[in-house]
């Protein structure tokens, strides 16, 4: 069993504390655990005591005619009220700390896409899942994206999503934040323990909601700086000599097309883009044409016009959602997919 669970320590069953706030949350957790234990002992203990003590002896027992008792009723509504206000305030203090962003600190961009977490660093390093999470990648050995972060330095994640709502959850840091398409949300932490922390997606996002984990690897400061330099993409080489326009096409492919069209010839939902440009396409209607620029542009704007034989008409029209310039970039990129 993975050791990152401390089963019998003070914070029973909570994962290892990765940040200082996690310690505070576990303290709050211990308080809640104990106070609830006491309240249930009072309630359930009282109930069982009354049941045993006042067992029915005969069918017509005389019972006391007590309708109410103001003093008792006042105490057991005021005391819970006070305890709950204490719990509220303690929770508010921790929530405030979790949600106030640090001024200085590393900024990393997180992009949640349907079924993978992608990370982008200031100096251009991109931890992107190239071909997405394939079928047989069980959670045990899935190809996880790794976010390398410095030890004991505040890190701020600016997060968004390109398709549906996901949620970036790090149990070790006791923190999670939904990522919403069309908007940026923020998540911050200061890791004070070296090692790897598991990241889950906790907002239901479809087929492989349970198979888009990631890892946060906390490394010492120096090692982090060295990692940044070694993986920095040099300005010259931009992924195998593809033109600038096609370069932008990759970004669009990652955001909009990756969940239905693959690059390696395998069938996901729609036809693959491998060697698509210029290939002969047969349609449900029986007609056929070579895949040139006009056909590709029409299929993006209004896919229902020509459906390739054997594929479902499941692609939404992108008319009005992609500008002409973006369509140009996509087509240029398609030409490079061999």
């Amino acid at each position: 069993m993975n050791t990152w669970f401390s089963t019998f320590s003070a914070n029973a069953f909570m994962p290892i504390q990765g940040t200082e706030i996690a310690g505070k949350v576990d303290g709050f957790y211990a308080f809640l655990l104990i106070s609830s234990l006491i309240s249930s002992i009072i309630l359930i203990g009282g109930m069982t005591a009354f049941i045993i003590q006042y067992k029915r002896k005969t069918a017509t027992d005389k019972t006391a005619y007590i309708t109410h008792n103001t003093m008792a009723e006042f105490t057991w509504s005021f005391i819970p009220f006070v305890i709950m206000m204490v719990i509220f305030y303690w929770g508010k203090v921790i929530f405030n700390e979790l949600r106030t962003m640090p001024q200085a600190g590393e900024e990393i961009h997180v992009v949640g896409v349907q079924w993978a977490w992608n990370f982008k660093y200031k100096n251009g390093i991109k931890q992107y899942t190239k071909d997405g999470v394939t079928k047989e990648n069980k959670i045990g050995n899935v190809e996880k994206q790794v976010m390398v972060v410095p030890y004991n330095k505040p890190v701020k994640l600016v997060m968004t999503s390109n398709d549906v709502i996901h949620s970036f959850y790090v149990p070790g840091f006791r923190n999670k934040q939904d990522v919403i398409p069309g908007r940026y949300t923020a998540f911050w932490f200061k890791a004070d323990k070296l090692g790897e922390f598991q990241v889950f997606c906790t907002e239901y996002c479809g087929l492989q909601h349970s198979q888009m984990p990631a890892t946060i690897r906390v490394v010492p400061e120096a090692q982090y700086a060295a990692w940044l330099d070694s993986n920095k993409p040099s300005a010259a080489s931009n992924d195998g000599g593809i033109s600038e326009v096609a370069q932008k096409g990759i970004e669009l492919y990652e955001n909009k097309c990756r969940s239905c069209h693959s690059l390696d010839g395998s069938r996901v939902v729609g036809p693959t883009w491998k060697g698509i440009y210029g290939a002969k396409r047969e349609f449900e209607s029986g007609a056929s044409v070579n895949a040139d620029d006009n056909y590709l542009r029409e299929s993006i704007l209004n896919p229902a016009a020509k459906i390739v034989k054997g594929y479902p008409a499941a692609m939404p029209p992108y008319a009005g959602q992609l500008s002409d310039e973006e369509i140009e970039q996509l087509i240029e990129y398609m030409k490079t997919v061999k």
């Binding site: 008792n69 709950m84 206000m85 719990i87 149990p171 934040q177």
Partner: protein, 540 residues
């Protein structure tokens, strides 16, 4: 006891009761007698509960282990997502929201108020058929395109997915319509059809609970209606109100959805509290402790439930200010709930407690609802909720209050009012055995899920981290116990129907008005309309 001053010594069991008043299936399908409609609701709700339960067992089976050799190999992630959605939709919209109000509210409200029928009998029958229509529309998605959005239909996933969301949303809308009409019927009945002399503080606490529930049904369900309509328009026309690419804000969908759905969880639990008040008072042979406190805390819960929906959205991109505001008000909802729990337990003080099957279910309610309620306070604290949100801690919490609360009270209510419904006694030992299985099975299933939640296992996961496997296996075994327990309960009911011995008008010695009518009651409930001169729980 509601002293009926006119001598209503129970005439020897009048042969003419609502069951044999008219014969033939058409007389049932076109009846406007609130008691027959209640029995028809009971049959539909028990079938949907069976279907929902089977989905639950399949889910637990699929989660038995994670990795290559799955326990149910034919369940793929896609099929799991559909089962998870159907378990949610069937249990929420078809079983628990209509559950107690439609079955016990319909049957008992008029009898407890000494009325001949609900205010609008034909509307009552219409609500049943609208409910069935909604259930068939939502159920038909099983065959036409499935649904995999979960019962919450969060956008933009519910807009993008290719499953038949519009059909499911239309079904939920129609069932919401039936829920509004039932609530409307009950409010007017409580206002206008009380027996002479029965003022508002002489009605049983079950009627108070149904009254508070109906107020929520009237005020919350329309907003769900418009949210689901907009979701349908979103998919059909691309209206863009909730679709981020077209300028909408998906968090606004969550605001609209939870504005209904949090009061809806009080629609589910308040009637159960009403039943528990009746059971505890009857089986301790003692007047309820703090009648006004319990009655008014039902209203207080109904009122405050409209102010707290944001605690479902602490981490959903809602602003920190709104989160803190919703958290402080959610704490206030805990106060009336605590009042009720303390009052029920002090009702047993100096009473004479008898642990028949219904009482066991009431005790089970108190035990499980205490744990469910307390963990609710944890989730209301913002600092704690950030870690627990959308993990199995939340799954355990709401199952403790829904299965432990509403379904325990629902089953307890069936065993308690079975003599009044069908004029026969159920077999008590079978009832107790079913309780033992359901209670232990429930704890074995859902208590480990609290621990899984603390360990950070997210909700709605088909493949989970190997570290979570042992607790998931315990939980799956527990779910078989619950399944078996409900089968034993079903056996007890069928045995009661077939071979139960004749029940007297008041087998449990209860004091509320429905036990003065013969069981099963005649078509017009009371030979002579009783006049109420004292409170409903006058045990001496």
């Amino acid at each position: 006891m509601a002293h009926a001053t006119q001598s209503t010594t129970i005439v020897t069991s009048t042969e003419d009761n609502y069951l044999n008043h008219e014969k033939g299936i058409w007389s049932w399908l076109s009846t406007v007698d609130h008691k027959r409609i209640a029995v028809m609701y009971l049959i539909s709700i028990l079938t949907f509960f069976l279907v929902g339960g089977i989905f639950a067992l399949l889910l637990r089976g699929a989660l038995f282990n994670s990795g290559e050799n799955k326990f149910w190999s034919y369940i793929t992630p896609e099929v799991y997502n559909q089962f998870m959605s159907y378990h949610g939709i069937i249990m929420v919209f078809m079983v628990i929201v209509p559950g107690i109000p439609a079955v016990f509210g319909n049957f008992l409200l008029p009898v407890m108020l000494g009325a001949k029928d609900v205010a609008f009998p034909r509307l009552n029958l219409a609500s049943y058929y609208i409910y069935l229509l909604g259930a068939t529309i939502a159920g038909s998605t099983l065959f036409l395109g499935k649904i995999d959005t979960g019962w919450t239909f969060y956008t933009p996933y519910s807009i993008k997915t290719s499953t038949s969301v519009i059909m499911a949303v239309l079904g939920a809308f129609t069932m919401g319509m039936a829920s509004i009409l039932t609530g409307l019927n009950f409010i007017v009945t409580t206002h206008k059809l009380r027996a002479p002399g029965q003022t508002m503080n002489k009605i049983p606490l079950f009627v108070w609970a149904i009254y508070a529930t109906s107020i929520i049904q009237i005020l919350a369900t329309p907003v769900l209606g418009i949210t689901l309509l907009l979701l349908g328009a979103e998919r059909a026309l691309g209206v863009g109100i909730f679709d981020p690419n077209l300028g909408g804000d998906p968090v606004l969908f969550q605001h609209f959805f939870w504005f209904y759905s949090h009061p809806a969880v009080y629609i589910m639990v308040l009637p159960a509290m009403g039943i528990v008040s009746e059971l505890i008072s009857t089986f301790s042979r003692k007047t309820i402790f703090g009648y006004t406190a319990i009655a008014y805390s039902s209203l207080a819960i109904a009122a405050v439930s409209f102010l707290v929906w944001g605690h479902h959205m602490f981490v959903s991109g809602q602003s920190e200010f709104a989160g803190i505001m919703f958290s402080v008000i959610t704490m206030l909802v805990g106060v009336p709930t605590a009042i009720k729990l303390f009052n029920w337990i002090s009702t047993m003080y100096k009473g004479s407690v008898r642990l028949d099957a219904p009482m066991l279910y009431a005790i089970g309610f108190l035990f499980l609802f205490t744990i469910g309620g307390l963990t609710g306070v944890w989730l209301a604290a913002t600092g704690m909720d950030v870690h627990f949100h959308d993990t199995y801690f939340v799954v355990a919490h709401f199952h403790y209050v829904m299965v432990g609360g509403t379904l325990m009270a629902f089953t307890g209510g069936i065993f308690f009012w079975f003599p009044k419904f069908f004029g026969k006694m159920t077999n008590d030992t079978l009832g107790r055995i079913s309780w033992v299985f359901i209670f232990t099975g429930f704890n074995v299933t859902f208590f480990p899920q609290f621990i899984l939640g603390a360990m950070g296992m997210p909700r709605r996961y088909f493949e989970y981290h190997p570290a979570y496997e042992p607790l998931n296996q315990i939980s799956t075994v527990g779910s078989w116990l619950i399944g078996f327990g409900f089968l034993v309960a079903l056996a007890a009911i069928i045995h009661g129907l077939v071979a139960g011995q004749k029940a007297s008008a008041n087998p449990w010695g209860s004091k509320t008005l429905e036990w003065q009518a013969p069981s099963p009651p005649p078509h017009d409930n009371f030979p002579i309309t009783p006049t109420v001169t004292a409170g409903p729980y006058e045990y001496r």
